[in-house]
Amino acid sequence: MSLFIGGYQGRQIRRRYLERILISVATFGILYWLGINFIKSPSQFFQASIIGLSNGVLYALIALGYTLVYGIIELINFAHGDLFMLSAVFSANFITIWFHKESSGPAAWGVFFMCLVSVMLAAASVNIGIERFAYRRLRRAPKLAPLITAVGVSFVLQFIGLRWNGSGPKTWNSVLPAGKLSFSGISIPYTTMISFAVTIPLLLLMSWIVTRTRQGKAMRATAQDQDAARLMGINVDRTISFTFALGGALAGAAGLLFQQTRGLTSYNLGYQLGLIAFTSAVMGGIGNLQGAVLGALLIGLIQGLNDGLPIGLGQQWSQTVVFSILILLMAFKPTGLLGKAVTEKV
């Protein structure tokens, strides 16, 4: 039998068997855990899944910003999470302080949509500005230079947030309808439905832009080879700016949705959610758009189930569970769920 072959080949085969057994045990364990929770309380199971998915769509919006930028200039834009945080603070100020809307109503919904457009524009402009002033000059520099710059920009944005929002968390009243849809013990808040209703079209729109438009084609070309793209007459600078704008706009929308559904802002939001979103992008295969969304939904769901199920490790283990799964996944599939192995461009 092949299991008893000696030497290098035998080791390889045995290792593959071991891996398969480990994966089966892990899968069985997870299914068993989900099963007993489902039997114990089906309503809590669905509730936890819904909470998880609604977090997942938020992560997806942010994760796309990481993956878009990485896809095109291979930079991990650490400042992206903080752009999301500033968008949340901007939205809170826009709706509550500048337009004095603190409760639901047609006028307030109008302000909500105005805010959605403004915050997307504002975040897009800020992101273009960051690229123009902090990253563009370093495009041909060693890879570490823009990386450190990104960390620096992240601190700058964080301190703007600290000045703007104050050192403590601030809570706000949502202008979205407060009710919920209930059936057989499961309740879906309207706010969750609205986040889906805003996020899904945005994701589709972005996917359409990247795959179907001329600008999208330019983006893909630039991602593949900047010099060749330039020779083909593509304005590379403008294409990169456009990519940053797209990522920024999605972070802006995420900021507004977070602020309105969770009702809170804090200057260190960007670090926490940015880290999770970045992880989603890596899990899905960094640079891959569908992968980022898939990774984000998966992480949201894992967190939701782990935090919300009656038999579970609970929220204090949330990050541990997410990152353990990430490490396992990376060990078996280093490119992420949908990522492809790319040879280093020379």
Partner: protein
């Protein structure tokens, strides 16, 4: 300032004080003046704690000295900056000054632990107004304060039960959901609170780490458990986010928390509506609520402060324990140790202060009960 320079300055100033003190002691050799040391952070980032407490000690002394006693008492200040390393270098000086027969403080638990070896060697009795770490009076702890250390503040062993008692007060069938923030303080307090929650009351426990931005999952669990009392053990910023998420999620029951949440910005951050009715406890009772009007006038005249800070009451009580021993004719450290260990004293609120073998007040020191009303913290009484 450089930390090293700060430390050496602290040591030098303590030494200078001691030198001055011993000079004075020998000058009034008849034993007409006795010294009490006061150890707390008086400079540095935690100075406010020490300066607040100092007013309580000074006020108790001024009341005592105003009665024209045969033996005058004066304070020797020791500044440990709340830092264990500084405390360890300040303590030997205080311990070696035989004119000092008692020590009010130290204010901080870490500083207390670092000072203990010197004070134990010198046999100097100490009463802390604010060191709440449970291990200091735990006979099983490797470093406890036995026999010289006493405290007039409720440690978390007492605050936990008091918090549960107060949170469930007036609720006919309380169903308690306990949440902590996994910090040393929060998890510790929750452990002591949990012991008082009976099986019939208990509907769940959860831990949400400090700085979490999303409380939806735990809110869903609280609601699924049918709880009508939620007790949160953690700090104000997180409590504000949690209570807001609970109220937004439709939870209408009691929300209660400990002294970590007792901060003026809690109702501001949570929003007036969400914070309204929050029940809070603290190991401290505000001085203005237990002092008489005449005392408050005298206090303001002495210190220039209208609203006393935290732990003024406990510092006042600690100082008075020493003073009543001195009134009984105690003039030495062993005498003081004996008097404190076996005596029975009165606190300003009329409460009885008698220490158990390991230094805590028998029956527990007073825990104050507070409620948020119209966005303000209001003191209700002893929990």
């Amino acid at each position: 300032m450089n930390k090293k320079i700060q430390r050496s300055l602290a040591v030098v100033s303590a030494a200078a004080l001691l030198f001055g003190v011993s000079a004075v002691t020998s000058a009034t050799a008849a034993g007409k003046t006795i010294y009490l040391a006061f150890q707390a952070p008086l400079t540095g980032p935690n100075a406010l704690t020490g300066q607040d407490e100092l007013t309580g000690a000074k006020f108790a002394l001024s009341e005592y000295n105003a009665t024209n006693p045969a033996v005058k008492v004066e304070l020797v200040l020791a500044d440990d900056q709340g830092d264990p390393t500084v405390a360890a270098s300040v303590a030997p000086g205080i311990a070696s000054n035989k004119g000092i027969i008692g020590l009010i403080g130290p204010a901080y638990s870490g500083a207390t632990q670092a000072s203990l070896p010197a004070y134990k060697a010198g046999g100097l009795p100490m009463i802390s107004p604010s060191a709440t770490r449970v291990s200091l009076t735990d006979k099983k702890a490797p470093v406890n304060g036995f026999p010289i250390f006493k405290r007039v503040v409720a440690n978390d062993k007492f605050q936990g039960p008091a918090l549960v008692r107060y949170a469930t007060k007036g609720i006919t069938a309380p169903k308690v959901y306990l949440v902590d923030d996994v910090s040393a303080y929060g998890a510790g307090l929750a452990d002591y609170a949990k012991k008082t929650i009976t099986a019939a009351m208990n509907v769940g426990k959860d831990s949400v780490p400090v700085n979490t931005s999303d409380y939806t999952s735990v809110v869903a669990k609280v609601k699924a458990s049918g709880a009508n009392v939620v007790i949160y053990c953690g700090y104000a910023p997180d409590a504000a986010k949690f209570v807001k998420a609970l109220r937004d999620g439709g939870y209408t029951g009691i929300f209660a928390s400990g002294d970590g949440t007792l901060k003026a910005d809690y109702p501001v951050n949570a929003g007036k509506a969400a914070a309204e009715g929050t029940r809070l406890t603290a190991a401290d009772v505000p001085f203005e609520n237990v002092a008489t009007d005449a005392q408050m006038v005298a206090y303001t005249k002495l210190t220039g402060i209208k609203v006393p800070g935290t732990y003024v009451t406990s510092t006042y009580n600690a100082t008075n324990v020493f003073l009543s021993c001195i009134k009984q004719g105690v003039v030495s450290r062993p005498g003081m140790q004996n008097c404190i260990t076996n005596g029975q004293f009165k606190g300003i609120a009329g409460d009885t202060i008698k220490f158990d073998r390991y230094g805590d007040i028998i029956g527990g020191a007073a825990v104050g009960a507070f409620v948020i009303k119209d966005g303000k913290i209001v003191y209700l009484g002893v929990a």
